[in-house]
């Protein structure tokens, strides 16, 4: 697939890295030659210097032969215009990033689909989604959480600490087999290695355990596995930008106590207007005084979303010091994410690109295998496959299948019913499978379901 990416910033680079690993032909356009040089030294992609809204530049990038155009500069107008030009040049799929989707959604007149843009992504909104999902999970052990199949299934990564009942015994002699049979443990992250668990696998202290299942089952499991499973009683958000405000709005709507800290007085006033019950503090989240005014107590979750990576990390450290139970930092630079998770100073770093890449990967996969989700820390991908009636697997029990290495069947959606993939379950035609595959195994799954 030939893919043109406009914008070699953090988003464009993360996307290019991801897609070039999968052997797509990638051309990246940016007006900054320095950025392009950096990208070219790291990735096997073609770089074109120039403005993405200039037809000559687009031609140079081979726009007429392109299958997918993704415009992810930090200027909405450039992204939208580039996609519109791509539409004129006959590119089949166009994806544009905008700061906020809402203005384009409120009135059908301004629906960007009318300009031929197939997908509009807003990193901030996708990111707000993700943080919101994590905050809804009980307890502090959640590493990440992703909704799937229209919220009928949930994938959660949890940290196993000393008190966890999960650790130090093989999975087959698990104390609560009834509960375990309703969820599926798809992978363990030990340090930087992924382990695909079997019955003999022991979970160690510090492992991240990724499990999948129906939301109610997963929640029940989390409540059981987490010694401290109370919900957060208060959420402090620093940074009243689009992301912070959007998050505050959503939490406000479900009646969670929210405190929003914003430096700029005008913006703070605007935020106060937007919230019904939440408190808005005007001040710098980096100052001890503001933090003490925010009244952080045990059970408080702390979110840093100022739009500046370094500031966010610092704010989270201060928040932790002031007594927050759980801290989340929004981080844009892809290089930071693995470092932060290994530092274990923060509970969670949320990179705003992953959710966007999820949305885009959806278009890249073939007809039969769709991308369901990508997780932050766990390499590989969750794939969504529909079982054709004449497929080899149809009518067989899961334990009889020859599943390739590095591939785990996670959940099965039959009609409206979500089931964890346990060995005795017999697959039937038209089941929808969610399959976890390591990066090298994604293509194996694709060829297994190729038609």
């Amino acid at each position: 697939m030939r893919i043109v990416i406009i914008g070699a910033g953090n988003a464009g680079r993360t996307l290019a890295a991801r897609l070039s690993k999968e052997q797509h032909d990638i051309v990246i356009i940016d007006r900054d030659s320095e950025k392009l040089r950096e990208v070219q030294s790291q990735l096997d992609v073609q770089a074109v210097e120039g403005e993405g809204t200039n037809p000559t530049i687009l031609e140079e990038a081979g726009i007429s032969k392109t299958d997918l155009l993704v415009a992810v500069t930090n200027r909405d107008e450039v992204n939208i215009l580039a996609c519109a030009l791509g539409n004129l040049a006959g590119v089949p799929i166009k994806v544009a990033r905008v700061a906020t989707i809402r203005p384009y959604e409120t009135d059908k007149t301004y629906d960007l689909k009318r300009l031929g843009i197939d997908l509009v992504v807003s990193q901030k909104e996708e990111c707000a989604d993700e943080i919101f999902t994590i905050l809804r999970m009980p307890g502090t052990g959640t590493v990440e959480a992703v909704d799937m199949l229209d919220q009928r299934a949930l994938i959660v990564g949890i940290k196993s600490d000393m008190d966890s009942p999960l650790i130090l015994q093989p999975l087959k002699s698990f104390p609560n087999p009834a509960l375990l049979s309703r969820i599926r443990i798809i992978a363990l992250m030990r340090g930087n290695n992924v382990l695909i668990p079997s019955g003999e696998t022991q979970i160690m202290i510090g492992d991240d355990v990724y499990l999948a299942g129906a939301p109610s089952d997963v929640m029940e499991f989390l409540a059981w596995a987490n010694p401290d499973h109370s919900k957060f009683n208060k959420i402090v958000i620093s940074g009243g930008g689009e992301l912070g405000l959007e998050l505050a709005r959503r939490l406000d709507r479900i009646n969670v106590k929210v405190v929003l800290i914003e430096k700029d007085i005008a913006r703070a006033e605007y935020c106060a207007e937007q919230l019904n019950n939440g408190t808005v503090l005007h001040g710098d989240a980096l100052s001890q005084e503001t933090l003490s005014n925010a009244d952080i107590v045990k059970g408080t979750a702390f979110v840093a979303a100022t739009g500046d990576d370094e500031t966010n990390i610092m704010i989270c450290l201060l928040g932790e010091k002031s007594g927050a139970t759980f801290t989340i930092a929004q981080v844009a630079k892809p290089d930071y994410v693995p470092i932060i998770s290994s530092l274990s100073l923060l509970d969670r770093a949320v990179s705003s690109h992953v959710s966007m890449i999820n949305a885009i990967l959806h278009f890249v996969r073939g007809k039969n295998v769709k991308s369901a989700a990508v997780l932050h820390r766990l390499p590989g991908e969750l794939l969504d496959v529909s079982l054709q009636p004449d497929h080899l697997w149809s009518g067989k029990a899961i334990k009889e299948l020859k599943v390739p290495d590095g591939v785990v069947i996670a959940i099965i959606l039959r009609g409206e019913h979500v089931m964890a993939a346990t060995g005795n379950l017999v697959l039937s035609a038209n089941d929808r499978l969610i399959i976890y595959a390591l990066p090298i195994s994604v293509s194996k799954v694709e060829s297994l379901f190729k038609r």
């Binding site: 030939r2 052997q23 032909d25 990638i26 051309v27 790291q42 990735l43 096997d44 992609v45 073609q46």
Partner: protein, 482 residues
Amino acid sequence: MNFKPVLHLISFLLMLIAIIMGITSLVSYLMDDPATAWRGMIWSGVITGLIAIVLWASTRTSMELSRREGIGIVVFGWIMAIAFGALPFIICQAVDNPFDAIFESSSGFTTTGASVLADLENHSKAILFWRACTHFLGGMGILVLVVAIIPYLGVGGMQIYRAEVTGPSKDRLTPRIASTAKFLWGVYLLLNMVLIVLLRVGGMDWFDSICHAFSTISTGGFSTRTASIAAFDSIYIETMIIIFMFLSGISFALHFKALRGEPLCYFNDSEVRCYSGLWLILSILIAVDLIRHDTYDITGAIRHSLFYVTSLITTTGFGTVDYDAWPASAKFLIFLLFILGGCAGSTSGGLKQIRISLMLKKMSRVIKSVLTPQAVYTVKHSGQIVHQDVIFSVALYFFVFMATAGLGSIIMSFYCDDIATGISAAFSAVGNIGPGFSTVGPAENYASVPNGGKAVLSFLMLIGRLEFYTVYVVFLANFWRK
């Protein structure tokens, strides 16, 4: 540096060489060579192949390469190719000294074309064909071929491509390096095939046409005859070889564009303009000089001047007459040609025309700005502004080229009796030309150079082929760190 993936990839390279050795022995058998020749070739292939298999099996690993491993593969891959490429010369008893074998192999893979073999007609077909094959493999870059074949190498694949494809700016024909490498090899094969047919039509037998086509398109210079192209004494063959040498001195990316339906791309390219301009001017100058000294009549002067200017500017090194007997002024122009080289992205060596063109342009801008310091001048190449860093690196490249060749000359002067031999041998090796002056002139060969000198020249050829930095980086302690 992580050795496992490096050795793993090198095992593919050795396998490829073993296969070509097998083909050579088949050719040799069919051409009624003595048994020692084709058996020796088979043994070389078997040894290389077995080592390749052992290496392959013992280093199976993930093939994703970083930049460091990419450089490692290029340098060690070339050293291994040269080392194993030397086997047939020893096993087939073409030479009796390992230095000669390494020299011949290095000269072959780097497409230099300098030889230690005298009386080529007395050598087996196996050896002659193997020499042509080393040119063929080295011309477009043996590792570029590996990049084209092995699907995914990550950043390291790019590093390999950058290190092996010549010139300061590497045109990408396609977004992915592997497919670019495929296209370049495709154009390369096509040119080879066309020339084979054209030479056959001109009266060469199949064996000679294949060997000479391999030598011409790779701008190597090995011939199957001691007298080189003069042995055929045919205006047609000389013309064909001139045309294809000239084409091989142009970027293969441009050929690809032209074949894809933009034949005008040659005229819009500043580098091609500089290349053809220098080619024409030097041909005329030398021809005039030869006429002025009554060395040849008008047609003879034009014929020989054209042939040598093309042969040397493209760094092929084919010969017809002995230019060592020419007047001093013509000889100096010949020596100038040792440095120039063809276009970036071609199979030729030397400085490369793009660097010359950029330096000339920058020079004129600097001179102008002395008069009007406030004026803003930019250097353009094919209509695009060239960044200051590029100009700087081009100027530095010139220095590195001259420093390396200069140091080489100093070392060579210890091994040679006269200045002309030492200097010309060193410059000829660094520029991947082939012949030099005096005792290593076009009518002579390198057999008289002492063993130490052969080793130095072999190394200079490798440095010149990989454009210096890639080889020099291996000498940094930092490179070896994991």
